[in-house]
Point group: C2
Chain length 201, copies 2
Amino acid sequence: MKRDLPTEERILKAARKVFLDKGLEGSRMQDIADTAGINKAMLHYYFRSKEKLFETIFSEVVDGFLPRIFGILNADDSLFEKINKFCSAYIEQELETPYVPFFIVGEMNRDPKAFLKKVLKGKKPPLRKVTLQIQEEIKKGSIKKFQPVELLLTVLSLCVFPFLARPMLQTVTGMNMKQFITLMEKRKIELPGIIIKSIKA
Amino acid sequence: MKRDLPTEERILKAARKVFLDKGLEGSRMQDIADTAGINKAMLHYYFRSKEKLFETIFSEVVDGFLPRIFGILNADDSLFEKINKFCSAYIEQELETPYVPFFIVGEMNRDPKAFLKKVLKGKKPPLRKVTLQIQEEIKKGSIKKFQPVELLLTVLSLCVFPFLARPMLQTVTGMNMKQFITLMEKRKIELPGIIIKSIKA
DNA sequence: GTCTATATTCCGATAGAC
DNA sequence: GTCTATCGGAATATAGAC
């Protein structure tokens, strides 16, 4: 793997690949070393421990998509516009890094409290503004009465699950990666419509 | 744990609990032994190896819900009726065994080919009949033109994902297990409507 | 069948030469 | 900084007494 990169970056690149694919417990330091084309001892020289190396990758991943998502939720757009942008941003992000959802769900399950602490860093998830917008639209009568958490579930389900189910989907349908991407590009456009229909009065 | 059950069943019960919760790699034989209230050596006496014990639980889990699902897909109901029954059956099943989706997704990711081989046992997933029904409804003009896989994705996303996201959901919203169950009972009734709306012409 | 004790394997981590 | 060799602990697996 990329013999021209400096060692530290080669390690990060390899660790990203292995950890994202197999999670913390499923990954071996030997695997990461082999992938990076260097010796196992080097991993410890640069990152002290497996945990520390993992934390580095984890933060990198979270910081890579969370700000974008939070930004959308806190913007000044209408509720419907936000649903649109959220789906687009989320699916585009996932198409770039298709293993991230697995990684996230795995970590979430392994240790939910530690996970949220690391992800939110003491802050609260920025759901307040959207919640208010939902209540307002309900009052206006433009959408049905429902709990905000239901919309959250609908949106996340439709955006995230396909990436979790991708291995199964590809094996069952014989679809290759390119076809999967095409399918998700199509859904990126269609999902907001489905979601909005589901809440319209 | 249940001192009155025969040893083999105590082991199975404990293994079910631990494996479903932590997956293959996250589970320890010691954990299972402790949970069963017996000695570690007994696990090997009855099941030879960790892998073998895991396979047993895995098959048990898969056989516990797949026939029901396949039965619904192959029944003589209309497409819309099937969507209804599928959502109900799936969510009811998951409410009984809320860790199964994690387990399934984890295994699917760990080794997709082995997973499908074990699950389908050489057979094909029974999607042919539903596919034909979709094509028929499209021809009739009662639903939009779309690929069957899209409907599959929509249904599975909405039914499965909430259970994968439950730990996060509970931590973020402060919801307890009972509240989560109430939420899913509600969605069990609403989801078919959302799904059918999404495909209606 | 069940236990204790021990062997074996695997893996993260470190020591030390270069 | 990079490597080889090795340690030490943890986890799976087995031997052997009862």
